[in-house]
Subunit: 136 residues, 2 copies
Amino acid sequence: MTAAQPTGNEQIADKLKFNEKGLIPAIAQQHDSGEILMMAWMNRDAVIETLDTGRVCYFSRSRGKLWRKGESSGQIQNLVDFRYDCDQDCVLVQVDQIGVACHTGRRNCFYFAARDGKEVVISQPEVSTEELYGKK
Amino acid sequence: MTAAQPTGNEQIADKLKFNEKGLIPAIAQQHDSGEILMMAWMNRDAVIETLDTGRVCYFSRSRGKLWRKGESSGQIQNLVDFRYDCDQDCVLVQVDQIGVACHTGRRNCFYFAARDGKEVVISQPEVSTEELYGKK
């Protein structure tokens, strides 16, 4: 028997340059509006699962395991296009975000702005964290 | 004499969480179109210089020094808004990109796409690297 041939998605993962911890940064962008939703990290398995399933999967550095975005909150990200950059060391996932991307209940995570030397909060939660993570 | 008070921009930098190498990832987005141009890294000095000058400055990991985007190519990024995320560990600079962002001469760096298990190049250079970096 010969060894199994790598799948196309495995070959894509092999093109990417993961850092010394086996991770690559991944930017999530809402595919139609262009809004940047969040930045998180993927390992090789997360890249392959994302490509195989069409649902975005990250690697949680705090929990040390695969993080299927939305698995506890229902706020999933359906993959529209998977891109990477000239150095192959950053991923851009263009997605259709169901609900909100941020754990605070905001649509996106980038809600702090530096303006005239001061921190300004530029968006508010659309849903409560109880609604996202509480009893159902 | 009392110690100098930190400036507002220094206080912003102190809110950010730099990694063990003193760096934070920074996503550059064209402010009006929403196009994601590139991802690079900033150290504390780069954050402060960006905020102080309104011209985006990164930290070059390969050269080990501040990288004033466009200093050799002329393809500068004028800062429109400086944002950061809920965990304070990722920066989003919304910019007005003069010319192209990518060293290959493409408008943005994310020109590889994974489609049906294959790598596809989805954009072409708009200017030659000779034009960007050659003799002037």
